[in-house]
């Protein structure tokens, strides 16, 4: 109770910007506040991901290690790397005290109140890693002066990260452990900013072994560390100084990475299970797109294909009988057969992804811009993989937004791009919460985050004109009628029964436009940015 009264005092003092004995108390107030909110959401809707993690708790607890990647009683088999499995194993020992029944593998879809409480609390508590990482990131900001607390970049960054809409919705309602994982990522980035590269590399290797989706940004790490850390010096104009190559650093980095992988995969290699593990980690999933199209290039590609086929039939250029069956009336199916445009294979998507990130990688190789350039490249790698990847989940956009927040409080242009990307992609997460009960929550939280980010960034960069041009503002405002149509008007119309997928498709395509736009702008800013630092920070 004294903690609550302290919180009240701190909240009031924070907003009044009164002189405080403890300068950092606002951080803890924000962290505590968001934790309270998360606790309130314990009873909200949770998706099948809840059962996924319960199943993993059960199988890591009840079965020996040799069985972990073979167990298939539940359809939600273990498809994260071994370190995450060990994490679940650790959690399962605490789970015993809440409800032993959840650790029984055959108890499919077991969701007693104690289970829900435990799982939700585990996410909330694991977020402590995220809190720590955010604190470290605040230290990396270039300038942290502000007239009052609300105008300080570190305060704005803390709110943008701790109260991020995507994390709240995906972690604490839908159910995942992204807070914890992004905590590790942000901590790794912070360590690189602080020139503690060995730690940063170690953290990233750990992260890769927790969730392999972060392979999306591994190229950025690889090139950056090679270029800026293994080559200890650059020439005066920023170009590479070949002679400054440090074998020692390369070897140490290699050792760190390899030993992390060894600890993680070692037991399974020893058991000869590596192929099985890899097949679980990289399942050859059917379909270019997920059931709900992530707002990437392929969503636009699909809609273009549909449009062409409709037009083609209309203008008698195509024979309707020759088209694939579901193309005219089928909506969001996993195996989307393209009728006019060529079909896309996984290899094609890989090639496109690589092509999309190569210029960025080349840029930081050629003229690195220190930690900031690395961060920008990282965001582009994440975004490029999102845009062109195979079977991408809309949640993957978080990988671009969270690191971009760091850039947004530092530069005007990045703030504008961040606003575009964050509002659009947060809106694209709406279909994840499709229940009526959660509708007010997602609208309130979305408005909360959007208003805060708009107002605070506008105040931060008030000199120099508007952050968003009229076209961008119109696009973002267009989300409001889109939401009204998709969630309020459309379900009441007669088309709801015949074309139930239409609102999802609309959302997907509309957001894809915004995401693509942000991607292009980000690329332009990377390629045109001049070296503000004469020498790289690594010495």
């Amino acid at each position: 109770m004294s903690a609550t009264s302290h919180l009240l005092k701190v909240v009031i003092q924070t907003v009044m910007a009164a002189p405080m004995t403890n300068d950092q108390s606002w951080f803890y107030a924000l962290a505590l506040g968001v934790s309270f909110l998360k606790c309130l959401l314990i009873n909200a809707y949770h998706s099948t991901d809840f059962e996924v993690h319960r199943n993993w708790l059960a199988l890591t607890h009840s079965l020996p290690v040799s069985q972990w990647y073979y167990e298939a009683t539940s359809e939600w088999t273990l498809d994260y790397p071994p370190l995450f499995a060990w994490f679940e194993y650790g959690l399962s020992h605490i789970a015993c005290f809440f409800d032993k029944e959840m650790l029984v593998v055959p108890n499919l879809n077991y969701a007693s109140p104690a289970t829900v409480l435990f799982q939700r609390l585990s996410v909330i508590v694991a977020d402590v890693v995220f809190f720590y990482a955010v604190k470290e990131c605040c230290k990396c900001l270039r300038e942290d002066k502000g007239k009052d607390l609300l105008g300080k970049p570190s305060f704005i960054l803390t709110v943008l990260l701790l109260w991020n809409f995507g994390l709240l919705i995906v972690d604490h309602i839908h159910f995942q452990y992204n807070g914890f994982l992004f905590g590790v990522l942000l901590l790794s980035i912070a360590r690189h900013c602080q020139n503690r590269h060995f730690e940063g590399a170690f953290l990233f290797s750990v992260l890769l072994n927790l969730k392999h989706i972060y392979l999306y940004i591994a190229p950025a790490y690889g090139i950056y560390l090679l270029r800026c850390f293994c080559f200890t010096q650059s020439n005066a104009d920023g170009s590479l100084q070949w002679r400054s190559f440090s074998v020692v650093r390369l070897v140490i980095l290699g050792t760190i990475v390899l030993s992390t992988f060894a600890v993680s995969f070692g037991p399974f290699i020893a058991l000869g299970q590596l192929p099985q593990v890899l097949s679980r980690l990289f399942p050859f999933k059917r379909g270019l797109c997920h059931a709900y199209w992530a707002p990437n290039i392929w969503a636009l590609y699909n809609i273009a294909d549909k449009a062409f086929s409709i037009l083609g039939v209309k203008f008698r250029l195509l024979d309707i009988n020759k088209l694939p069956k579901a193309s005219m009336t089928g909506g969001l199916v996993q195996e989307f057969q393209h009728s006019v445009l060529p079909s896309v294979s996984p290899l094609a998507t890989l090639v496109c992804t690589l092509l999309s990130i190569l210029p960025a990688l080349f840029k930081i190789w050629h003229r690195p811009n220190g930690a900031r350039g690395f961060l920008r490249c990282l965001v582009i790698c994440a975004l490029g993989s999102f845009m062109f990847g195979w079977h991408v989940h809309e949640k993957a956009i978080m990988m671009a937004i969270l690191p971009l927040s760091l850039l947004a409080v530092d530069s005007r242009k990045d703030a504008g791009i961040f606003l575009m990307l964050s509002v659009t992609s947060h809106y694209s997460l709406f279909p994840l919460l499709f229940t009526t009960q959660e509708l007010p929550i997602k609208i309130f939280l979305m408005l909360l985050f959007t208003i805060f980010s708009l107002a605070s960034l506008k105040t931060l960069f008030r000199k120099g004109g508007a952050l968003l041009n009229p076209l961008e503002v119109t696009y973002l405002l267009g989300l409001i009628p889109l939401e009204l149509i998709c969630e309020f008007v459309y379900p009441l119309t007669v088309w709801q029964k015949t074309f139930p997928f239409l609102p999802l498709m609309l959302t997907s395509v509309y957001c894809a436009l915004g995401v693509t736009y942000a991607f292009i702008r980000l690329y332009i800013s990377l390629l045109t940015c001049s070296d503000t630092t004469k020498k790289t920070k690594m010495q």
């Binding site: 907003v15 009044m16 009960q437 107002a455």
Partner: protein, 456 residues
């Protein structure tokens, strides 16, 4: 950051916590045959929609008063009627006469919660925002902080969105009344407060300060001339409002009497359950409930309430300014809570609600301490409501530990009610302390900064 954005963030935070609390269980969920306050509200929709007005407050074959009979003034009934019309549109089963008793479903819960949110947004939240904007001293940041504290006040959120009630309507209307008086719009203020009174009779707790303030103001303006004219206008407004609200019940003299009988059930005894007021606490030592006759109990409670309310009211009468008015509101509601008849623990909302209005430099500390006390009380409410381990617990994770001690720890067999009683006695002592403290503040008027004084 601009003001509008800060205020909208406060509102959004308030709305989010409200709706998130509403995910949890409501009073009487899954507990036939009587269920709880949620079923009471649903039942009133059923009664008001299906039965003619003159049957609402009477015991008839169609209207069994023992099953959640209407015991709030007419405005609540009208509100239920409006909700019933909407319910009928969405799903007629919800208000089917007799057949809908104990109706529980996920969509119905959403509907009921939505009605609370709707009235909250319509009445309570604008009042809070306007109050903080116009009547809080200090920088805009302080105003926003006050708004945030009021909007996040857990008592109201838990009762309205958890347990299930519509306190935000009556409290909101009362706040509009205070706003009106503060802006000098006495007629509007009186109208709003009269409506609040006609929504929940608990607002009587605040009625004496309103009366004394307006009367004092009129007297100050001179009882011959402007003051008298003003008094007449106010009285007319109040009477007309009452008449309009009670119009359907004025045709037959039996009607208003029956309504009053339902509103003030003197037959029910000095107190029910565990309440943090004098009688309940006293009962632990001396069994006054059984010792004294009902008439004596009534007289005693009336006398003591009057005794504790008189100093504050007289002071307000002599010095009708806004500061005195607010303090009088606190003192009056505390006095009623502590000493009056048939008080429910939820009535403390009325006293607690006023306190955030007093967040100025000097009173920050008591506010923080009060919050502790009210948290303590809401703890008690939680333990009271969560005997079946409902997830309403999760609102205060830290406090869960303390509540856990109360709920899981076995009290000694001789005193099975030990913990709830301890909680209510401790809270009572806090409130007793507060009523003395605030009376002292109001009566003695310690030196305050000139800028804080608001005179009319």
């Amino acid at each position: 950051m601009e003001n509008w954005s800060l205020f909208s963030l406060c509102v959004l935070l308030g709305l989010t916590s409200r709706w998130a609390v509403s995910f949890h269980s409501y009073s009487g969920a899954g507990k036939p045959p009587m269920f709880g306050d949620y079923e009471a509200q649903r039942h009133w929709q059923e009664v008001t929609y299906n039965l003619p007005v003159h049957e609402w407050y009477f015991n008839t074959t169609n209207n069994d008063l023992n099953y959640w009979g209407l015991d709030y003034p007419p405005l609540t009934a009208y509100h239920s009627l409006v909700c019933a019309y909407v319910a009928k549109l969405l799903n007629p089963e919800w208000v089917e006469l007799h057949a809908s008793r104990g109706y529980e479903s996920h969509s119905h819960k959403l509907f009921m919660r939505a009605t609370v949110l709707f009235t909250d947004i319509l009445i309570y939240i604008p009042a809070v925002l306007l109050y903080c904007f116009y009547f809080c001293d200090g920088s805009s940041k302080q105003k926003v902080a006050t708004a945030l504290c009021i909007l996040l006040y857990p008592g109201l959120i838990l009762i309205d969105y958890g347990h299930f009630q519509y306190n935000s309507v009556s409290l909101g209307l009362a706040l509009w009344g205070i706003l009106g008086l503060g802006l000098g719009w006495d007629l509007f203020g009186s109208l709003a407060f009269t409506l609040a009174l006609n929504y929940k009779q608990m607002e009587l707790y605040h009625s004496l300060p309103f009366f004394c303030y307006l009367l004092g103001k009129c007297i100050k303006q001179g009882l011959i001339g402007r003051g008298f004219f003003q008094l007449a206008k106010i009285s007319l407004t109040v009477l007309v409002t009452f008449a309009l609200c009670w119009m359907p019940f004025l045709s037959d003299p039996k009607q208003p009497l029956q309504v009053l009988h339902r509103l003030f059930p003197f037959g029910r005894g000095l107190f029910e359950d565990k309440v943090a007021n004098t009688w309940c606490s006293l009962n632990v030592l001396i069994k006054i409930k059984t010792l004294l006759s009902r008439e004596t109990q009534l007289f005693l409670s009336f006398a003591l309430t009057l005794l504790f309310i008189l100093p504050s009211s007289l002071k307000l009468l002599s010095k009708p300014n806004l500061w005195q008015f607010k303090l009088a509101l606190v003192n009056s509601s505390l006095a009623f809570f502590l000493f009056s008849f048939q008080v429910h623990e939820k009535s403390i909302l009325l006293a607690a609600f006023m306190l955030p209005l007093l967040v100025k430099d000097g009173l920050l500390l008591p506010y923080v301490v009060t919050s502790l006390a009210f948290l303590f009380l809401s703890l008690y409410l939680l333990s009271h409501l969560t005997r079946t381990n409902e997830p309403l617990f999760w609102y205060f994770p830290f406090l869960v530990i303390s509540v856990a001690t109360f709920v899981w720890l076995e009290p000694p067999a001789k005193f099975p009610d030990l913990f709830p009683v301890l909680v209510s006695i401790l809270s009572f002592l806090h409130f007793l302390g507060f009523i003395i403290y605030f009376n002292l503040v109001q009566l003695m008027e310690p030196q305050r900064k000139k800028s804080q004084k608001k005179t009319n």
